[in-house]
Symmetry: C2
Subunit: 119 residues, 2 copies
C-alpha cells in the first residue's frame, strides 16, 4: 500500500458515518449487510449513505455485490489489513514502543491463532 492509498483510507475512516459503517461491516462478517440495513444501523439517509459507501469502496475498504433487489456490502479484509500494515511499518521504524503494545493487545484478543505470526 502506497502513501496515496493510505491517505484515501485514513480520510475515509476520519468521518463518523464511514467509520461506523466499517465497524458494522467488520462485525457483520463476510456475509455483509444490505445497503438498507446499513442505513438503519448507522442512522443515515439512504442516498447519503450511498455517497459514503462509494467513498469507502474507492478507498478499498469495502466491497459490494448485488443480491436480488439489494446490494450487499462487506468489509474488504485485504484492504483493512494493508492499512494496518502501513500504519505499523510507518510507526515501528525502530520504535517497538508503538507496535509492541498493539501486538500485545491483539494477542489478548481471540483472533491470533499464531500460524502466520512468523513471516
Amino acid at each position: 500500500m502506497d502513501e496515496r492509498q493510505a491517505l484515501a483510507a485514513f480520510a475515509a475512516l476520519g468521518q463518523e458515518h464511514r467509520l461506523r459503517v466499517v465497524r458494522a461491516l467488520v462485525t457483520a462478517g463476510p456475509d455483509g449487510l444490505a445497503a438498507g440495513v446499513l442505513a438503519e444501523a448507522v442512522n443515515v439517509a439512504g442516498n447519503n449513505l450511498s455517497f459514503h459507501l462509494k467513498e469507502l469502496s474507492h478507498a478499498g475498504l469495502i466491497t459490494s455485490r448485488r443480491d436480488g433487489k439489494s446490494v450487499i456490502y462487506s468489509a474488504a479484509y485485504a484492504g483493512l489489513s494493508d492499512l494496518v500494515q502501513f500504519l505499523m511499518r510507518d510507526c515501528c521504524q525502530g520504535h517497538p514502543e508503538v507496535c509492541n503494545p498493539a501486538v500485545a493487545a491483539l494477542a489478548a484478543c481471540d483472533c491470533t491463532t499464531g500460524e502466520t505470526l512468523h513471516a
Copy 2:
C-alpha cells in the same frame, strides 16, 4: 481510545502534509524536529505547518516542547500505539485474516523483540 479520538486521529492522518509530518517525526525518533526543519522537510509554509501541527497535537499524535527559540515536535508514540490498537481491535473481531498478515509483516520488521508479544 474511544471512537471520538480515533476519528480525530484518522482525520488527521488523512491529509497529505500531516501524514508526511508524522512519518518524518517517527523517523526522526524521540529527539524530534524543530518546526522550521519540519517545514523544509515537508515543503510547507511555516504558518500553514503550524496549523497542521496544532491539528496533529489535538489528535494526540504528536507532542511539542520549546528549546530556546525553536519548538521541537516529536511523535507521540503512545497516541500512535493507541490508534493501531483501535484499528486492530475493530478489525480483528473474529477475523484473523485482517490482523495476522499485519502481525506477520511486523515480525519481518526489526522492531518486534518479543518481550511484550504475549499480554
